[in-house]
């Protein structure tokens, strides 16, 4: 398209960047992710007319299914999981471009069939040879699919590869997988998903920090006492026993979501919001993270307990889990970011399954007022200011400040100034996958993790896990429905601090 300089009619027009025509190929189309997240997200994009007019979805999985059976199943999924009302006209328009192929990912001939079908679609629908491959498959299948699609001859358009987490299971395997990918794809064609980065509230951290003049001057070791990041889930491992046994909390949450939240909290201002500028700053933080030693990392595993009034089984009783499993379902750690801004400021992080509630928060706790000029009684109520970013639920930001209780004397109580997303913006928040799928189609990698970030994340995890090999904790060590093992409380208590109250 011509620029505004060449075409004066374009000046001032708010033209949304609709992706170019393309085929989206979902490997793992019969899986849970496709049903619960990908199709509801695609429907929501279609609902808002954000998909290109010339667009086709091809589902690929081992399950034998016809096009119609696949469409019917996805229709049910959209009706069940979409955030938008179900409209036949929107679905019909989307379904018109849905095909399904039952194929063994490792079978060259079956993937030949896929390639032939895509060439047909290019002819019929004008998708121009552009491909987005979405690997919604277990990690074990990544490599074979990457090799297969990589060795099939490329069509004339662009190709993008979306890879779900986890990207490898340690630094060596991540590097190996990356080497396989780079045999066939350029780094600019690879989109490694960490869906937390697609969440509005995570992106709002960037807005909060870099669009407001008041926070950045105090966003450093001079004013911040410490940072607490919590990623708590009340649910257990659901039906993912086999995967979770291999991953544990450190690979499932810490290595990706948690370190990305930390990176966004601690990063320096990027010069602009292009993909590389943002990722350059994040990787500097990831490279600077260290944990002071094995005692600064706590792991736990849940036993029987109560969640929302219901008695739930312990981790070792979950289906697909070794009854003597030593896999951790909880990790808490004290981390430091060794740079000018954050030297000696602890970042306490914790994440776990079967905790009392679902909550993802980033709490910036500021240093106390140096000399409160109040009587002792009044000063008792004085607590440090906390800026709390609610990633989920109750998406928003609140600032805890001390306020005088009305009446005689001077008593101080902590009150909250709240900004709730649902309160200020009454439009529904888009699901992370909507944003990420659209960005990948547009070729915008800002909210995807680059290989050097992944490698830094694995380096830290490998260092922690190596220390774990030397001891054998008495699992289970926290009942389901509690905030983790007592040693997690000890971790902060040693520093004269405590986890935020609930």
């Amino acid at each position: 398209m011509a620029t505004a300089q060449e075409n004066p009619l374009l000046e001032g027009l708010q033209i949304g960047r609709t992706p170019e025509p393309c085929i989206l190929v979902i490997f793992g189309a019969s899986g849970d992710l496709t049903k619960r997240k990908l199709f509801p997200a695609l429907y929501s994009l279609a609902f808002r007319r954000l998909l290109p007019e010339k667009f086709q979805i091809v589902g690929v999985a081992r399950t034998e299914e016809s096009d119609d059976e696949f469409r019917d199943r996805m229709k049910e999924a959209v009706q069940q999981f979409s955030r938008d009302e179900f409209r036949d006209d929107v679905w019909d328009a989307l379904t018109d471009g849905i095909r399904y192929i039952a194929a063994d990912f490792s079978n060259h001939e079956e993937l030949d069939r896929l390639a032939a079908m895509m060439r047909e679609v290019d002819e019929e629908r004008g998708t121009g040879g552009n491909r987005v491959y979405y690997l919604a498959v277990p990690p074990a299948a990544f490599e074979v699919i990457v090799r297969e699609i990589g060795t099939h001859s490329r069509a004339k358009g662009w190709t993008r590869l979306i890879v779900e987490k986890p990207f490898g299971h340690d630094l060596a395997s991540a590097r190996h997988l990356n080497a396989v990918i780079h045999e066939h794809f350029e780094e600019s064609e690879v989109f490694r998903i960490d869906h937390y980065l697609g969440k509005e509230t995570v992106q709002n951290m960037l807005a909060l920090r870099f669009a407001n003049g008041i926070f950045e001057p105090i966003w450093n070791r001079q004013f911040v006492d410490h940072v607490q990041i919590t990623v708590a889930e009340s649910m257990g491992i659901e039906a993912r026993g086999a995967y979770y046994e291999q991953a544990g909390a450190i690979r499932d949450i810490f290595q990706n979501h948690l370190l990305q939240l930390l990176a966004i909290t601690a990063m320096e201002p990027p010069i602009d919001f292009t993909a590389d500028s943002v990722r350059n700053e994040k990787v500097k933080v990831l490279r600077a993270i260290h944990t002071p030693g094995p005692k600064s990392v706590v792991r736990g595993q849940y036993g029987r307990g109560y969640v929302e009034g219901e008695e739930v089984r312990g981790y070792r009783e979950e289906p697909g889990v070794d009854p003597h499993s030593m896999t951790e379902t909880y990790v808490a750690a004290k981390l430091y970011v060794d740079n000018w801004r954050w030297a000696d400021t602890p970042f306490y992080v914790r994440m776990g399954k079967r905790l009392p509630r679902r909550e993802t928060t980033i709490a910036i706790e500021f240093k106390r007022a140096p000399h409160p000029p109040f009587e002792e009684l009044a000063a008792e109520g004085l607590r440090p200011n906390v800026l709390l970013v609610h990633v989920q639920p109750d998406e928003g930001v609140s600032l805890a400040i001390g306020a005088k209780v009305p009446g005689q004397g001077l008593t101080i109580r902590t009150v909250h100034m709240d900004f709730l997303y649902g309160g200020a913006f009454r439009t529904g928040l888009p699901e992370a996958y909507e944003r990420l799928i659209l960005d990948a189609m547009r070729g915008d990698a800002t909210l995807f993790t680059r290989i050097d970030e992944v490698e830094e994340q694995w380096s830290l995890v490998d260092a922690i896990v190596a220390a774990w090999a030397r001891d054998r904790p008495a699992f289970p060590n926290y009942p389901a429905g509690t905030w983790g093992p007592p040693s997690a409380e000890e971790l902060l208590k040693r520093d004269g601090r405590s986890w935020r109250g609930h």
Partner: protein, 283 residues
């Protein structure tokens, strides 16, 4: 039935009591992203209420609706409403609507009523129904206390001549025109006809007079050439012919009135392309 309030102080007191959640110790949380003022002469009351309903839910705001009643006996007669919406887990937020009837001479001093009701530090929008009385004290006062004026020139008679008054105030207040917003699907479509459209001499627009004049004004101002306009009257924009050739219809459905107004309330910057288009209508 809402209680009649006769001073700003009474309005504020009533708002504060309505904000208290019945039976609860803490008040509802008030969330506001703007003050939205609407000037609604009698003939526009029904239409204005239609659009306002639902708007508060999308843009939590304090809405001040002014009903000028210059022929009544001097006085101020207000009522307030607090609407509560769920937000987050177990929380409710409230937004406020203040309706004030400005009677007798007070109808010509509306700024003195609006100013104490503006929420501090938040943008203030003024929605003016019908053709504003450019130069009249009530209009001049109000545009000096708000950040953005929203009009719908579809509601105006004598186009394009009525645009002349508007061009005089562009340097004083940022202006949004719903009629212009309703051409937003067509402008990218017409822009996509570049370079063929560069030498256009005549357009024929089937739509409202405002849409026709604004599209012609836009083409004249952007292409810096004379473009003749032929207008076929219709209640919405149905088609544009470029030198006798129909332009392709833009994709998608036209947005509703509330949607268009809602989008304008998210806009803060001055729209110089619109301002040029308005000047272009008079060329």
């Amino acid at each position: 039935m809402a209680r009649s309030l006769t001073s700003i102080r009474e309005i504020e007191r009533e708002l504060s009591s309505l904000r208290m959640q019945p039976g609860a110790e803490t008040p509802y949380q008030r969330t506001s992203v703007m003050t939205h003022t609407a000037w609604v002469p009698t003939e526009w009351v029904e239409a204005a209420e239609d659009v306002l309903s639902g708007l508060a839910e999308r843009h939590p705001s304090r809405t001040v609706v002014l009903f000028p009643q210059p022929d009544d006996q001097d006085g101020l007669d207000g009522d307030v409403e607090v609407d509560v919406y769920p937000a987050g887990e177990g929380r409710q937020i409230c937004t406020e609507t203040i309706r004030v009837r400005l009677k007798g001479p007070r109808a010509s001093a509306p700024a003195s009523v609006v100013q104490p009701l503006l929420l501090p530090d938040l943008p203030a929008f003024l929605r003016w129904r019908g053709l504003p009385p450019f130069g009249a004290p009530e209009f001049e006062q109000l545009i000096d206390v708000v950040d953005r004026l929203i009009v719908d020139s579809t509601e105006w008679p004598d186009l394009p001549e009525s645009y002349r008054g508007l061009t005089e105030i562009f340097d004083r207040v940022v202006v949004s025109d719903i009629a212009w917003a309703r051409t937003s699907r067509w402008r990218p479509m017409l822009a996509s006809l570049w370079p063929d459209i560069a030498g256009v001499q005549r357009i024929r627009v089937t739509g409202t007079a405002a849409q026709a004049h604004l599209l012609a004004g836009w083409l004249r101002s952007r292409l810096k050439r004379t473009v003749e306009l032929e207008h076929d009257s219709a209640d919405r924009l149905h088609g544009v012919d470029i030198d006798g050739e129909p332009a392709p219809f833009p994709p998608g459905d036209p947005p509703s009135g509330a949607d268009v107004l809602s989008e304008e309330l998210d806009t803060f910057a001055r729209d110089r392309i619109y301002e040029d288009a308005v000047r272009g209508t008079l060329a």
